[in-house]
């Protein structure tokens, strides 16, 4: 097996580990009795895995694991609605974090905070479509603050992990 093969194998193992970690986060999230007024809207703890992958492996890996996680977690501990919400929240926050990271002007904490906020915006927009009632935007202010706090904490945690073991994970 050449260098390329070894790299692939190692990388696949790491991605699998990240997927498992993301699923654990989803499970923990499903147990937290933190309720935002709209069933299925989540705190966004799994963003930690997306942030870590974005900074250690790359954008493609981060997006792939995120989408895979959403479907698996939806089947395991959620319902079709939670898949829809997580998808719109997950993809929106991924795009924003990716774009902000590429500017090169912001640190992990800020990128992650933006991800936390947009994750909740994405979920809420989808929820408004699902129940066909724009009035649930009533919950937006609380969700924005919650997204800020979770995103910020996840950012600090991710930053520490990247500083300490970043060179040993991913590539």
């Amino acid at each position: 097996m050449g260098w390329q093969g070894k790299y692939m194998k190692r990388n696949t193992a790491y991605l699998g580990m990240f997927l498992a970690l993301a699923l654990i986060c989803s499970y923990v999230e499903s147990l937290i009795p933190f309720y935002f007024g709209i069933p299925g809207v989540k705190l966004g703890l799994t963003n930690i895995v997306v942030v870590l992958l974005l900074y250690t492996s790359g954008a493609k890996e981060a997006l792939a694991i995120s989408v895979l996680r959403i479907f698996l977690a939806g089947f395991l501990f959620g319902n079709p609605f939670s898949i829809l919400y997580s998808l719109s929240g997950g993809i929106l926050s991924f795009l924003i974090m990716y774009a902000l990271k590429r500017t090169g002007k912001l640190k992990v904490v800020t990128v992650s905070t933006a991800g936390g906020i947009t994750h909740n915006i994405g979920q809420l927009i989808m929820a408004a479509f699902v129940v066909e009632n724009a009035n649930i935007m009533y919950y937006l202010p609380v969700l924005l603050i919650a997204g800020f706090v979770t995103g910020f904490l996840i950012g600090i945690l991710s930053q520490e992990m990247i500083f300490r073991i970043g060179d040993r994970i991913g590539r």
């Binding site: 309720y35 069933p39 933006a114 202010p141 800020f148």
Partner: protein, 126 residues
């Protein structure tokens, strides 16, 4: 020593936090008025409008298979029973202020508090 926060980060985070808190404080002052009625919709369609002043129990049922029971007591509406699988609507707190909602996604039921005037306008519009 690697830097954890840059100047830009602190500035951006502070501004965003200030704006979000502003929105939160602003909306909680505006919206938190006691409502008069609850409007119930199923799948986005108007179903029923009831006053919060009368204590009563309402069976919300779009078809024979799905049903929720909404209880109105002391000016508050609370989902007391539901046949949905997740029961998240039942766990939700009771609502009484303008704009507050209880949502049951599996049954596509939305219960929303309105001030009397908005609600009448809305039921005509639908």
């Amino acid at each position: 020593m690697k830097k954890r926060f840059g100047k830009t980060d602190i500035l951006v985070l502070a501004i965003v936090f200030a704006v979000l808190s502003g929105i939160w404080i602003f909306t909680s002052f505006i919206i938190k008025e006691e409502g008069a009625d609850v409007v119930i919709t199923i799948d986005g369609e108007f179903y029923k409008q009831v006053s919060l002043r009368e204590d009563q129990e309402i069976k919300i049922s779009g078809d024979e298979t799905a049903a929720n029971i909404l209880k109105i007591q002391d000016g508050k509406a609370d989902m007391v029973e539901a046949d949905c699988p997740d029961k998240l609507c039942v766990h939700q707190k009771s609502i009484s202020k303008n704009g507050e909602t209880i949502v049951c996604l599996p049954n596509k039921v939305v219960v929303e508090v309105k001030s009397g005037e908005d609600a009448e306008y809305d039921s005509v519009a639908r």
